[in-house]
């Protein structure tokens, strides 16, 4: 032993093993079944609530101090969705709440270019009512519209939809859910008779063939990938995606199809299945309509034509069809790669058709399953009162209007008998001068809407723009005349519905900054200020509204009249719809259509199809590349208003906007790795940094959607049935700078 180490051992003064800095990181048993946690954050209680980012709907176990205030969190261990795990966003869910750019006071701009000034709530409410009523007086009640979100609670969505449509005489309102799952809604409604994603996450663990279409599960829904990892049947995992995504890397098979060739591909696959009699004739005979027409329709999609159009070799088409045929429990899962296209509804239905004709529905481990994006997109589908009348009802159906009017105890004339404009039509309405005032709640179209420059111009054209958000500086809030400060997830009570139809609670575990109020409270104040509060006398707490909503679902496919209250949801780990009155204690992982009966009046599913259409933004000599957009990393959420406020998440993705480009293309155009290039579409032009990779095919490039610039390029085309924007493919050219 050397002299020095002897001395250092003898003289403790020379080596500080413990001290104030070391103590900062001492871990201590946290109690509450937590194990060790940071010693300065030991909880006095814990409570479980659903994460507020994506529609996976993970349970988060929030650690509370003696004032019931959140001081930390861990993924809930015994929650039926995530079994003890969370993605990086879930781990960081509390951080964005304490950001310095939180809106904490109503802000008002006397003129468009003036500096925003803080105002009291009563001034803000009065300005809101004065300006919107003024516009309505001049241009008619329909000249005001709203754009909502899939990020707030069902009770709040219902309040917004009811307040605007029943109370304020607004007809046109839509949500950002139009951008993510409108296609799935339309496809399911037409095929099944109701917007009913039929699966439970348990199906991931029970399939022997899992087909992921336009879905980068590993990055977009990491916890759902976890469910696949826990599948004990060594399933064949097929990824159909133009890019070799993280999920394609992890899968057992990857079909790198040409962008937007999926409709042809699924018709071609259906044709092979039918030609080989690899179909479930009994199921088709007993439970499906229009099979003959469908079989006839797909006949022309021969393997050769399908191969030519999709870029997949004929023998691989056969292999895939055979895999579907031989699988005992085949499940099909799709996400935005399907939903965000110009013929997306038919594509989704082509997937549904594959499940139907092979009898892969209603059994464990099967289904044609749309994985949703936002934490409460599914709540908005049922309760936002935009596309559907509350509770999955139909505005144009007089019986439905009567039922809702009676249940809510409001005059039936208050309920519009016509459908509302969709998001893109509302934007078009601003252009044509029909929409003069707009109220945007919890969404950021100046970043996320397609062909962004036009949208920004149109926001400037409005007579009055109100933005209600938890941050005062979103790209959209910068255009607002009035900013209403909203409490965030974690600062209010309510319920979410996740992708597998699980209704669960979120709780108030943190104080909102300053004067920020829950959206629910804001709607209540506006009802009061507008003078229509008498319609909403019972709407005085989220839980009361939840009880009203459960009553509205009576006799609907989404009947949840059996759910008593929030406490029941909390204690059961969430409850999947349907849950009608009288449902007993039940399996917590339920899928639909066990008996093969669907929601159309004849109980049969419909095989819906039509001819593929030409790409609305074709490539040519000037714009030779296809631009694909998508999720960049698991640490980024949509327009990043929240995730950019977490330094821990910021570290997990590239700081630059990186354009994925194939090395052959780079060589051909003399473009270097990590160099700035100009990318130009027919809509706009931006500068990005190159990332040379063979994960993208030649002739294609990829940009993540989280950067504000990406949507300057995207093409304003829409699926005609769902009105969902076509984010996933547009024509571009690349130039070295």
């Amino acid at each position: 032993m050397s002299l020095l180490s002897t001395i250092s051992k003898k003289l403790p003064l020379l080596r500080d093993h413990y001290g104030p800095i070391t103590e900062e990181l001492i871990r201590s048993p946290g109690g509450f079944g937590l194990g060790q946690i940071p010693g300065h954050r030991l909880p006095d209680a814990t409570t479980t609530m659903t994460c507020g980012f994506c529609a996976t709907g993970c349970g988060l176990n929030v650690h509370l101090d003696k004032n019931a205030h959140a001081i930390g969190l861990t993924p809930a261990t015994q929650y039926p969705v995530n079994s003890g795990m969370a993605c990086p966003k879930g781990w960081e869910a509390l951080t964005p709440l304490s950001a310095s750019n939180r809106a904490s006071q109503p802000l008002w701009k006397p003129t468009r270019n003036a500096e925003a000034q803080s105002v009291e709530w009563n001034t803000a409410l009065q300005t809101f009512c004065d300006r919107f009523k003024d516009i309505q007086q001049k241009h008619g009640p329909e000249s005001i519209a709203f754009l909502g979100t899939g990020q707030i609670c069902s009770e709040e969505l219902a309040f917004l939809g009811a307040l605007t449509k029943f109370g304020m005489g607004i007809r046109h309102g839509d949500g950002n859910t139009r951008q993510c799952m409108a296609t799935a809604v339309t496809a399911y409604k037409e095929s099944f008779g109701f917007d009913a994603p039929p699966y439970s996450y348990q199906d991931f663990e029970e399939s022997d063939v899992i087909i992921l279409i336009g879905s980068n599960l590993c990055i977009a829904h990491p916890i759902l990938w976890q469910r696949i990892v826990r599948n004990p049947h060594s399933p064949e995992i097929v990824v159909i995606d133009p890019r070799k995504t993280e999920t394609a890397d992890a899968a057992t098979q990857h079909f790198a199809i040409d962008p937007k060739s999926d409709l042809v591909l699924y018709y071609g696959l259906a044709n092979i299945l039918i030609q080989n009699q690899w179909i479930d004739s009994d199921f088709i005979r007993n439970h499906c309509n229009d099979f003959k027409g469908f079989a006839q329709h797909v006949e022309s999609f021969t393997p050769e034509i399908t191969s030519q159009r999709s870029g997949i070799a004929v023998e691989r088409l056969h292999q895939l069809a055979q895999l579907i045929h031989e699988g005992k429990r085949v499940s099909f899962w799709w996400t935005m790669g399907v939903n965000q296209g110009y013929e997306s509804t038919r594509t989704a239905q082509a997937i549904i058709n594959l499940a139907l004709i092979t009898g892969n529905i209603g059994r464990p481990g099967t289904g044609a399953n749309s994985i949703t994006g936002q934490c409460n997109a599914m709540g908005s589908r049922l309760f936002s009162n935009t596309t559907n009348l509350l509770g999955g009802h139909d505005f144009t159906n007089p019986e439905h209007r009567d039922k809702i009017a009676e249940q809510l105890d409001i005059p039936v004339e208050r309920i519009p008998s016509q459908n509302s404009w969709s998001y893109d039509q509302i934007i078009q309405g601003i252009e044509s001068g029909k929409i003069r005032g707009l109220w945007i709640i919890g969404t950021n179209p100046a970043h996320s809407w397609i062909k962004q420059k036009r949208l920004k111009r149109l926001l400037g054209k409005l007579d009055f723009l109100v933005v209600q958000d938890m941050y005062h500086d979103t790209e959209t809030a910068r255009y607002a005349d009035l900013i209403l400060p909203a409490a965030a997830w974690g600062e209010k009570d309510g319920t979410f519905i996740n992708s597998e139809r699980r209704i669960s609670v979120i709780k108030k575990i943190s104080q909102a900054p300053g004067q920020a109020l829950a959206d629910f409270h804001i709607f209540r104040l506006i009802a009061e200020a507008w003078g229509c509060a008498d319609l909403f006398t019972d709407w005085n707490s989220p839980e009361n509204v939840f009880k009203i909503l459960t009553r509205l679902t009576k006799d609907q496919p989404c009947d949840i009249t059996g759910i008593k209250d929030y406490r029941m949801l909390d204690e059961t780990g969430g409850i999947q719809w349907p849950f009608p009155k009288g449902s007993g204690p039940t399996n917590n992982q339920r899928h639909l259509f066990k008996d093969g009966s669907f929601y159309h009046t004849d109980k049969r599913a419909r095989l819906i199809f039509s001819d593929p259409q030409a790409d609305p933004d074709p490539s040519d000599e000037k714009f030779p590349f296809r631009l694909i957009t998508g999720r960049g990393s698991s640490a980024q959420w949509h327009t990043q208003t929240r995730t950019r406020n977490s330094p821990a998440l910021q570290k997990l993705h590239p700081s630059e906007l990186l354009l994925e480009l194939h090395p052959d293309d780079a060589a051909q155009f003399g473009i270097h790795a990590n160099s700035p290039v100009r990318i130009t579409s027919r809509q706009g032009s931006i500068t990005v940094i190159t990332f040379i990779t063979t994960n993208i095919q030649p002739g294609q490039v990829f940009l993540p959607m989280h950067d504000e610039r990406t949507n300057q390029l995207t093409h304003p085309s829409f699926d005609p049935h769902s009105r969902q924007p076509n984010y996933k493919s547009c024509a571009v050219r690349i130039e070295a700078i």
């Binding site: 080596r15 070391t22 781990w91 009512c129 990938w225 709780k507 003078g531 640490a635």
Partner: protein, 536 residues
């Protein structure tokens, strides 16, 4: 609100006023309700009396049942095939360990390669590898690291650390992370307190795909050659214990995407000044002493002033190095690492040099025996040169090809020589001696030195896909180009000025431009070094 609009919307006014009347308005009521936290009161408490971690059911098989035995230690085992790059391990480590918001002890790297259907990206998650021969510990001047003899965990003593950040340079894997708030580095301790209680480390608990495990490894089985992953993460530097498993083959050309991340490294400005100033000082004393010893120049009037200039320069350099420390008040312990830390040796060497240089300089003013002055001078020069050698070694032993011994020695002793000559030039101009020989020597050595520096750009012309040398070249050519141009600019200016150097002012100007050029070069030395942690 204007009066006009109030009148126009009478109904609104009524409802708002109704709101505002009474003791508490609805607004007040809702604002109060907003601030009351009710989750505990409204819902039943689960697990209130459960002491054992219920998460254990998921990680029981991911950690060893026993402590390591003799000749064994803990190690991370990462299943690369199972990792899909969700990066939950990074945030869980931050959250469960109570780190600062922007602090991360776990990193994720991306390897990409292959083509067509064989292309593959592989996210590699890594934390401290708890090396068998931890170079963080051997480099630390204050013994702020210790390797636990039983568990093999390399622990950092946070209260011992002086924040010199040298371990960041000696670690081949960029593991220690500087925390500016605390002025120290911190790093992964394998959640030793958790393992001690049979709980899994944070990252192990949090991986949805069970890709990270803790295993007990025989220390003799820890590789001291080869790579943790073929082609990347070399093992020879410090014998890291982490084991990466994979069945799916990585493409042969898989390389870290960091190559494309052309972000210059930390500037380390105090160190740039410290190195240039101390090397200049040693150079000035070297030439001063040589002149003093030569019969032709020993009587020059300004010789003592040259020593004084060297003393002031050296002192400034040493003081500026303190600015680099996060915890300067603890720096007195820097002798503790003398046995194995070149940084310790550098500090001690300059600490000895300083008083010697002071006494030697003072000896010109106080009449002491010439022999004593000579002995002082010789010792000052020798200890000074040894100090510069220590400076060289501080960087040469780090796993960075750009800082290899010959390259760093050429740079540091080059600076010592060139600025020593430039100082002599000033002296000669002051005393009216001929400077032709000096000027030619200076022009040649300076040119050679600059040519050597510029040769680091040569890999730009190579077709090799990537290498640390090419990365360094790319960093200099792209983001650091202004600094590179500045370095060449000051070189050219000093070269142009040389023929004019007859007056002390011009000579001083030449000295300053050369010194500024060296500052730029030293800045490039730090900023353009490739720290690709996954390098071979």
């Amino acid at each position: 609100m204007s009066i006009v609009s109030r009148k126009k919307n009478a109904t609104v006014v009524t409802s708002i006023e109704k709101l505002a009347s009474g003791e508490t308005t609805l607004i007040d009521q809702l604002l109060a309700e907003q601030q009351s936290l009710t989750a505990v009161a409204s819902f039943s408490q689960q697990h209130s009396s459960v002491e054992k971690p219920i998460q254990a059911r998921y990680y029981r098989d991911l950690i060893p049942l026993n402590d390591p035995g003799k000749g064994e230690q803990y190690s991370f085992e990462v299943d690369l095939d199972a990792c899909t790059g969700c990066k939950s391990c990074v945030t869980a480590c931050n959250s469960l360990n109570g780190l600062d918001p922007d602090e991360a002890w776990r990193d994720t790297h991306l390897l990409i390669g292959g083509s067509g259907g064989n292309s593959r990206r592989q996210v590699v998650t890594s934390a401290c590898h708890h090396c068998e021969d931890p170079t963080c510990a051997s480099g630390c001047p204050v013994l702020a690291y210790e390797k636990n003899p039983v568990t093999g965990i390399v622990r950092h003593l946070d209260d011992q650390c002086i924040g010199c950040q040298y371990c960041i340079l000696t670690c081949a894997y960029d593991v220690p992370k500087f925390n500016a708030r605390l002025g120290i580095v911190r790093k992964c301790d394998l959640c030793q307190s958790r393992l001690a209680e049979g709980e899994a480390p944070a990252c192990v608990q949090a991986c949805p795909n069970e890709a990270i495990k803790i295993r007990i490894i025989k220390t003799e089985n820890i590789p001291s050659t080869g790579h943790m992953i073929p082609g990347v993460f070399g093992s020879s530097h410090s014998h890291p214990s982490t084991v990466y498993l994979r069945e799916k083959n990585l493409p042969a050309d898989a390389a870290p995407d960091q190559l494309y991340e052309l972000t210059p490294q930390h500037a380390h400005s105090p160190l740039v000044w410290m190195l240039c100033l101390t090397q200049t000082a040693v150079g000035l004393f070297l030439f001063q002493f040589l002149l003093f010893q030569s019969s032709a120049f020993s009587s020059l009037n300004s010789l003592p002033w040259m020593a004084l200039a060297g003393l002031i320069t050296g002192l400034t350099g040493i003081v500026s190095s303190v600015a680099h420390l996060g915890q300067p008040s603890k720096a007195w312990r820097c002798f503790l690492g003398l046995r194995h830390s070149w940084l310790s040796r550098e500090i001690i060497a300059f600490g000895l040099w300083m008083p010697l240089a002071f006494l030697y300089t003072a000896s010109f003013w106080f009449k002491i025996p010439t022999a004593a002055t000579i002995i002082l001078g010789a010792t000052t020069v020798l200890i000074g040169l040894f100090s510069v050698f220590c400076s060289v070694m501080v960087y040469a032993i780090t796993p960075r090809p750009f800082w290899s011994f010959p390259r760093t020695a050429l740079r540091f002793f080059g600076t010592t020589f060139v600025l020593g000559v430039a100082g002599t030039l000033v002296l000669f101009c002051l005393s009216g001696n001929s400077i032709t020989g000096l000027a030619i020597t200076l022009a040649i050595t300076l040119t050679a030195k600059v040519a050597f520096d510029v040769s680091a750009l040569l890999p730009l012309t190579s077709n090799a896909d990537w290498s640390p040398a090419k990365h360094t070249a790319m960093l200099q050519w792209r983001p650091l180009r202004p600094l590179l141009i500045a370095r060449l600019f000051f070189y050219l200016i000093s070269l142009l000025l040389l023929p004019l150097a007859a007056t002390p002012i011009t000579a001083l100007l030449i000295f300053t431009t050369i010194f500024t050029g060296e500052l730029c070069a030293r800045s490039l030395f730090f900023r353009a070094v490739s720290t690709i942690t996954t390098q071979p």
